[in-house]
Amino acid sequence: MADILTLTLSTLMSEPGLKRSTSPSSSSTLLVGGRGISRSLLLLAAVTAASELRVRVVFFTRTQIQSLPAPLQKRLPNQSPEGLKKITFCYPRTVEELLQQVASLHDSPPPSLIVVDRLEDFLCAPGLHPGERSCAAHLSALLCDTAAFLTQVLEQRPSGSAPCRILASYHSELDPGPAEADDCPTDPVLDVLDRYFQIRCTLDQDRGYGAAAAGLQELWHIYVSGGEATAWEDGPGGAQDWQLLVSPSGSIEFKVVCKHHCRSTHQAHDLSPQ
């Protein structure tokens, strides 16, 4: 799994068990689903990269960030202000502006992490339907090509801040749910994004009684798929499932669960490494 996201989740762990790996890994990761929680994860990843890895981060989002998520507010007193200054927030209003700003990154100090919040805000805007696949492909390809170029630039520097990674989120209106069937309509934009992003982390909210019984506000399962999903290993065989637990206070906790506990209920979506 993407190294920075792994590091971010490991900082949310209440129990030891997940390797806090920061070794260069997959360069592009797409968070799918969890429209509310994904922004918190992206912000946490940006802060983690800037403060712990001390690398430059560029954060693209269409909507202004009015307040920081609760788990981030709790962590902020522990963060170095200098580290947080390494995050540059950009607010493109349209996909054309986003394309232009990403295309200009080669002409500025190179970031090691490029975050794009809510791709659907750019790619699924009203009136964009003709050519939306091509637009999604253009943006994805530009992000990947930019990361590849910036990695080259960073590798030539002694700071050791290579590679440049991409972390983006996308929420599909055509949410297939855990019981995805072959005849379900597929999201054309997500289909294109999957071509370019190496790793997909699907966030699936558990709406059963388990979350309420545990006194949680929300319980999210994380399913990892893609070329290097097996890199996120923990324990013998890497046989884990991953959960995000949101408490009523808004704090987020990350938990590793043995896969055999949930296999019976989530077998259809079991994309975790074997």
């Binding site: 260069p24 890994s25 997959s26 360069s27 054309e96 394309l99 232009q100 990403v102 295309a103 200009s104 080669h106 002409d107 050519g131 696949r133 091509s134 492909a137 253009h138 994805s140 390809a141 530009l142 990947c144 090509d145 930019t146 590849a148 170029f149 080259q152 630039v153 590679p163 054309p188 294109v192 999957d194 071509r195 370019y196 190496q198 893609g226 070329g227 290097e228």
Partner: protein, 161 residues
Amino acid sequence: MFWCHPIGWRNRRLPQTQDVKMRSFLPAVAEQLFRDIQKTYQETSKIPDDLLIALKFVFGPCALQALDLVDHRSVTCLTSPSGRKAFQVKGASGRLYTCFVSCHYCPCPAFAYTVLRRDEGLLCKHILAIYLCQALGLTQQESVSDQHMSALLGGSAAVDT
């Protein structure tokens, strides 16, 4: 889809030479075909019929269209002072298509329809022409400003004809 989640993506680095090479996300048979074409062309300055037939077999009708683009020296590798590179292919109509160095994308209608929508092809004639021009050493070289490179990559540059 042979080129989604390409194996070896993070382990491949762009060559430091002036003649930048597009990363190949093609099946092994296509990569071997380009190697054979490159080797034979270097020795004889020709592409023999059997390799042309193989090219048509692997890539279908866009192979001939791509060869036509190669004949017209339609592929240019653009470089800006920052070191950023991109390919530009001049189509039969004179329109310029900007393609990326590290992954497959072309703004042409055929790529949007055949590759992205129908999932029936690996690439369009413009991307195939880039692979062929690199194998044959027929890629043109051109320098552009950083600002112009940004405009080309972002798709906001005026379409030249």
